[in-house]
């Protein structure tokens, strides 16, 4: 652990969240701590493992401690604050602070950002590498709702960051990834093919798109964005990408797009190369059944697929451990519910076998 970080004052609780006399567990920099407020603004903190008291100060409505030797008194804020609620989030502290720092914000402490205009702010408690507790701040009671709404808008964005993936060349084949009926008007459908997350959407003219589920600007998932009918709008900074090309409107950037073919009522795509054509189907009637999600790898699912009359099945590898079974009913006399019963039983058998 970095000495500078250890020697820093760190926020561990809102004072008001500690009831007098009660021991409260928390976690800071991979270390379990216990907090206790004997009375008033007197608070004690110690590592759960050792019981040796840590330095503590109470300021800005919050309790601060340090795992090292905090050198200087705690920082000042440009305006007085009260606690506006604490939220646990599986995102590194740095990313939260960076995201909140945009616009008119300032950082009086490495783990604090305040915004003068909205009179809000946050203290971030680094719990572990990938998880944090965010302590929201408002100027007064009237500002509580603003502070919470502001963070509620940011939270899904922080949690929707995704890394760029390179599809494997072995994915040189057509796979169904949705049914055409899944892509309803103004919706963004979320799936994955061989670990590559996909955002599927239909524009108002009826054209379907299969895109990488990642905004090229700041890596936020497009599936939390908005389908505007002609463009997809990223939820973070509002970048808009055109149907068909994936080209950003007014900015030289482009979403990664994949081929998209609608056939037999299913939406097909391929991640790599120029594969053979989609399997031919010589059926006068075909109707997609409900796709079934199975928590098992493709190999387990493919080996278990039955040779069922009236039903043609196509597995979609979602990830190394998950598969979707798409099906086409080719016999109008068999109700969709019956196929669904068969496939959900099959799913349960496969999952029992894979477990």
């Amino acid at each position: 652990m970095d000495r500078v970080v250890l020697d820093e004052w760190h926020v561990v609780a809102a004072l008001e969240s500690l009831s007098p006399g009660q021991e409260v567990p928390t976690r800071l920099l991979d270390t379990d701590l216990t907090l206790m407020r004997p009375a008033g603004t007197i608070v004690a903190a110690w590592p759960a493992a050792s019981g040796k008291a840590l330095p503590v100060c109470v300021r800005h409505g919050h309790v601060w401690t340090s795992l090292g030797t905090p050198p200087q008194p705690l920082f000042d804020l440009p305006f007085p604050v009260i606690a506006a609620g604490s939220v646990a989030i599986d995102v590194p502290a740095r990313q939260i602070l960076d995201a909140f720092l945009e616009d008119d914000a300032e950082a009086p402490h490495p783990y604090c950002v305040v915004r003068r205009k909205s009179a809000t702010g946050l203290f971030v408690q680094p719990v572990e590498d990938q998880s944090s507790i965010v302590h929201l701040l408002a100027r007064d009671q009237a500002g509580l709702a603003v502070a919470r709404l502001e963070f509620a808008a940011l939270k899904p964005i922080l949690e929707s960051r995704i890394a760029k993936q390179e599809p494997s060349p072995a994915m040189n084949a057509w796979y169904p990834v949705a049914s055409g009926a899944d892509l309803v008007s103004r919706h963004i459908f979320h799936t994955a093919l061989a670990g590559q997350e996909l955002a599927l959407w239909r524009d108002d003219s009826g054209l379907a798109n299969v895109w990488e589920n990642r905004c090229p600007h700041r890596d936020v998932r497009l599936t939390i964005g908005e389908n505007l009918g002609t463009e997809l709008r990223c939820h973070y900074h509002g970048w808009r990408f055109s149907s068909g090309s994936g080209q950003c409107v007014g900015i030289p950037a482009r979403v990664t797009t994949y081929p998209c073919v609608e056939r037999y009522g299913l939406v097909w795509t391929t991640l790599a190369g120029a594969p053979e054509d989609i399997p031919g189907l010589d059926a006068p009637y075909c109707q997609p059944v409900r796709a079934i999600f199975v928590e098992a790898p493709l190999a387990c699912v493919a080996a278990a697929l039955p040779d069922q009359s009236g039903l043609i099945l196509f597995p979609q590898p979602v990830s190394d451990t998950q598969t979707v079974i798409h099906g086409l009913s080719i016999d109008p006399a068999i109700p969709l519910r019956r196929h669904d019963d068969l496939l959900t039983r099959l799913r349960d058998q496969i999952e029992d076998g894979a477990a």
Binding site: A152, L336, R337
Partner: protein
């Protein structure tokens, strides 16, 4: 006038607010630690009782799906419940029933909504539940809808 006080960050308070907001019922909201609701001369501490007692007639749910919402709230990480919901909604879409109990939303939809929206925090991705994701779009598009604070 209905008076509601509660922790704005709790699912119970949100469930009640969602009913009032979507059904266009007037109420005053105050910040408090425990849920407390006074309406029609009665005090409610249980959000589920309040939902079923205060919902206007066209927001009443059928017993099965109201009970389902309570089960989901009690077991918000139970995969089997999410699968049941997704399957029900998928067939509903084909039968002209975009909401849990038919063609319009009820307290059963409101009852399920907070757990479904919070599920990713509990580590449950909604990727395996496409019909459920479309239903959340429909819920968010309702007039008066308010997001979880």
């Amino acid at each position: 006038m209905i008076s509601l006080s509660g922790n704005a960050l709790s699912r119970e308070t949100y469930r009640i607010r969602l009913l009032f907001d979507l059904a266009g019922m007037e109420y005053e909201l105050r910040e408090g630690s425990d849920l407390s609701l006074v309406a029609e001369g009665e005090r409610f501490q249980d959000a589920w009782r309040a939902l079923s007692r205060l919902a206007p007639p066209d927001w009443q749910a059928d017993g099965r799906w109201f009970a389902f919402a309570r089960r989901l709230a009690a077991s918000p990480t139970e995969t089997a419940l999410f699968r049941e919901l997704d399957q029900h909604l998928w067939f509903g879409e084909r039968e002209g029933k975009p909401f849990l109990c038919g063609d319009h939303p009820t307290v059963a939809d409101i009852g399920c909504f907070p757990e479904v929206m919070m599920s990713d925090q509990a580590g449950i991705s909604r990727l395996p539940y496409p019909a459920l994701r479309r239903w959340t779009d429909r819920m968010r598009g309702l007039p008066g809808f308010t997001a979880f604070p």
